[in-house]
Amino acid sequence: MNDGAARTLTYREAVREALWLELENDPDVFLMGEDIGQYGGVFKVTAGLLDRFGPDRILDTPISEAGFVGAAVGAAMVGKRPVVELMFMDFAFVAADQLLNQAAKMEFLSGGQFRVPLTIRTQQGVGSGTAAQHSQSLEALFMHIPGFSVAVPSTPADAKGLLASAIRSDHPAIVIEHKALYGIKGEVAEGLYRTPFGQAAIRRPGSDVTIASYSRTVHVALAAADVLASEGIEAEVIDLRTLVPLDYDTILDSVGRTGRLVVAHEGHRNVGPGAEIAARVAELAWRELRAPIRRVCGLDIPVPYAAPLEAAWLPSAEDIASVVRETVGSAASPKPA
């Protein structure tokens, strides 16, 4: 499926390419969302798709999230592969019943009679002054309620490959893009390829500490790792890519080598993904750990608007580096043999 040739695309273009190729590949795939047709989406991800695929494949919806997400659930239950753009992740609360009571449960409560091959595409995160109701990171909700697979791409290549995998899945999937990443560029292979869920990527090898992250915070962690390297600390940066399923093997293997784990993400710390990852690693690799597992997260208050406040809310490279220094420095006892 992968033609191999790669060229540089933006994250936005990579998402659009996955949509384009899946729309060409499968007549059951169609898109729904607010302003995705003529307007091309508020982040311009779907620009040009209406002209190419027409109004029966690219459906502009009313501002009616519970209505059109529910309609996508119903269409999926009778064999379509709807891809819904939820303009902002924050709007998931408006459609929460259809997402978490309906899509997430129909397969199970029907005893496996029905499948829900639904893909939700949305974007979240901090970085452009969108304030408390347009900046939240809500992936933990979809990790907590069983039913959805959850992808959180950090690169253009993954934005394309993970979305293609989500659309091909026979079960509900949510692909959470990051609003601050749409303009980043990276190598993206041509043609349709699918990046498997549940396979983390090591973005930077290192021997002293493992930093597990995803989405935009991977780039922050890599910046922190550069600073730390200049101080003689080699951090291994893992990009989880998907949170459900979550590749614990890669984390455990890395922690087996480094003995230290820092989890970094934008979502709130309290009952966030980092809490679950820390708990699992503590349960499974206690003897490997040479220091307490640490978390660097968004603050446990709503996201503020003003630039200095927003910057203070967000975990920075220095926040990560500082916690890593403490973690490395706290290794009082050597790793047991």
């Binding site: 009313p62 519970a66 209505g67 529910g70 119903g74 009778v78 199970f108 009679q113």
Partner: protein, 332 residues
Amino acid sequence: MVAAMNVPVAEAKPSRLDTYASLIGIRGFEERAQDLFSRSLIRGSIHLGIGQEAVAVGARLGSRPGDLVVPTYRGHAYALAWGMSFDAAFGELLGRVTGCCRGRGGSKHFADREKGVLPGNAIVAAGLPIGCGTALADRLDKRDRVTIVPFGDGATNQAAFHEALNLAAVWSLPVVFLCENNLYGEMTPLANIVRIERLSDRAAAYGFPGVQVDGMDVDAVAAVVGEATDRARSGGGPTLVEALTYRFCGHMPGDTEPYRTREEVDRWRERDPITGQRERMLGDGLAEADIRGCDDSVAAALAAAESAALAAPPPEVSDIALGTAEWMEWER
């Protein structure tokens, strides 16, 4: 690959006696459910529609074989009217492996993919957007199929009701919204929660027809739903049908019914749709003995299915994650 859900078509038009059999089958099933519940053989709760059977059976008569239904948690009647077997229904009530959902759903979530029955929905009004989606899939794929979405009067104040009606209107979806107005939203009188006389008037706000029908008259419901499905099938979009009906039982077991009088219940019982159907058949010249023969055969089928379900094993615990995605981590 998820196969498109296709339900077989072609079935002879049911006779009055067939319709009667359907009505008494549903009534008998729910009376047995009441009894099983009182004997603590059913878990959780059950929500019966005793007295409302003509709405479900009329809806079935007014639609074509192959049309879909998206029931609510008060949905036994629709599953059975759409052809679910008594075995699958009793099995699910009792949490047996023979149940339609293999014991995963229970009373509230009867589902039968082969018969065109989507899972009963226990969130009030949540089925309306879902029914828009099945209808949208059919419109996009140019399938000659209509979706019937029943719901109670209480659902008409949920956001999902309004969002679904608007979506169905703007997309001209082949869907029939079927409101069972039994005068009470759970335990609250309708007059306390809305300021309009006719719920069907709400369709006008979305730009499509709304009609009221006597929900105790199976033929009247069949005629009105038939017109609505014809319009939907020919690209004319949705209809809101308001069937005026009544449940003779409480909202749930243990409902003390302080919200209504015994006299009111008795007045509605005089309009029992099953009695009405018997009178029609006798008026047609059908012999009393033929009707009694039907009574007996339906009762025997119900008794046999109930016994079989009581004797059936529960689902295997080792199979607890049936129907979940392969990547779901569920082991303790």
